[in-house]
Symmetry: C2
Subunit: 276 residues, 2 copies
């Protein structure tokens, strides 16, 4: 493999994302073609496909040996983590894109032999790019993000969807009850990459979900690592970046506290079930 | 009472809010003095007090006969709705202000003899002013908001805090379960005035909470009325703007659907309890 200049790549990818974002903003005045995927609230639009195709072509032209896992199917059938792997979501938060025309993001995470190397999460309408090259610090636009410090559960803002607090297929609805009740409050924004970026930026103290795909969390986990944040599956075991998975991401200390809480609930017989 | 020129008032209040917002933005680089009120997540800062004092003085100077109900105690002991009444929250979303330094709002609603006349909800960091003079249309900055149309529960984004889905003092945790499960998804932003403005702007289809004070909802309800939105207490009965109350605000049709759902749950013996 050629020696890669990650600084050059960082500039390239930022430029591609800004160009893709211009296309997205321009599209907001045009009619949107919307189809349902697995469910009435699992949507794909012509713009998801169009932006993914645009970005995949850019990546393939500049880095033809790299592999791509992306949401709408223009990527590769990736079986292993060797080489450089791009995890790409052209529009994370498609429901927000369709219904709110705001609070959606372009998310790109890049791994080399399984290790996070670069992350880009761009809030298109907020014009806010969260980004990092591993080892060089994480940024919110031009502002460097400080390392994350610890916080108690009583002073924590937790992001989690109401889905996981009511009967569902992935987690006993009682498992997170005490976390919700002890925390300062809960939030839910509906765009996983931005919610992970918000943990990295300190706007949220933890983010929890039972079901994400590699393109949803790929960039967010790299960004989070760069500021000293912690992440794992709900039960504390490691995330495999080729798999759908639960994700618990949080400040250090708080992550351990929530994992411990969930493990105790599981020991008492409550059920969690990883997505397939 | 003097004849009031509401257009002049609209311009005045917008100017006061922008000036107050400048003070708030300037304060973000300075240390914040934070105290707890009723609970560890019910906070007040020196800036809540300072902004309220600033706005109350502006109102008292320009409109000395008006009455004011405000969050931090610089207002009046108001017993009835005659005359002109201002419902003022200097920082709605104080927890967001303290923890995120974003997603908080200045909220001012003005009633005359109990009828909504003018509303101003300003997202300070997003520089987004939702405003209306009753009868003249509602606006998001300079953009006129269209009248709200109907939506089914399956296509609805519902904003409600996880608090109301777990054991709490105000509502049986099961009452909203089916609403959550049938909807397209749930959101929670943590600033009631903005969440009500988001319903008015069509970013959310419904907002539900069991506990708000007049300064939290005063402006939002006026804005919502102006675009044809519906609101009531959780059980469908009218809101008294002098009282703490539950609030269900939604698009027409969806509001009736959710009220009907809640009333059926109450008939089955489930409990809701208005705040005092």
């Amino acid at each position: 493999m050629e020696h890669r200049d990650w600084m050059v790549l960082g500039k390239q990818v930022s430029d591609w994302i800004k160009e893709a974002a211009d296309q997205l903003r321009d599209s907001l005045s045009l009619p949107l073609e919307i189809s349902e995927k697995s469910a009435h609230n699992d949507l794909v639009t012509n713009m998801d496909r169009s932006i993914e195709r645009y970005l995949v072509e850019k990546i393939r032209t500049a880095y033809p040996d790299d592999k791509i896992i992306s949401e709408e199917g223009y990527g590769d059938g990736v079986k292993d983590k060797t080489g450089v792997l791009w995890l790409l979501d052209p529009i994370d938060g498609t429901l927000n894109f369709v219904m709110q025309k705001r609070f959606f993001a372009i998310s790109i995470g890049i791994y080399e032999n399984g290790k996070g190397k670069a992350a880009f999460i761009y809030d298109v309408m907020g014009d806010e790019l969260f980004h990092c090259l591993t080892g060089h610090g994480a940024y919110q636009n031009a502002k460097k993000l400080p390392k994350l410090t610890e916080v108690t559960i009583e002073n924590a803002l937790i992001d989690l969807s109401a889905t996981w607090l009511k009967p569902n297929r992935r987690i006993d609805e009682e498992i997170m009850t005490d976390i919700v009740r002890r925390s300062s409050g809960t939030r839910a924004y509906g765009a996983a990459s931005l919610e992970l970026a918000y943990v990295a930026a300190g706007y949220l103290d933890a983010y929890f979900t039972m079901r994400l795909s590699p393109w949803d969390y790929g960039a967010g986990l790299i960004l989070l690592s760069e500021v000293g944040g912690c992440y794992s599956r709900a039960d504390g075991t490691p995330i495999d970046i080729l798999e759908k998975t639960s994700v618990l991401a949080a400040r250090p200390g708080l992550h351990a506290y929530i994992v411990d809480h969930i493990q105790k609930q599981v020991k008492k017989g409550k059920i969690i079930s990883e997505p397939k």
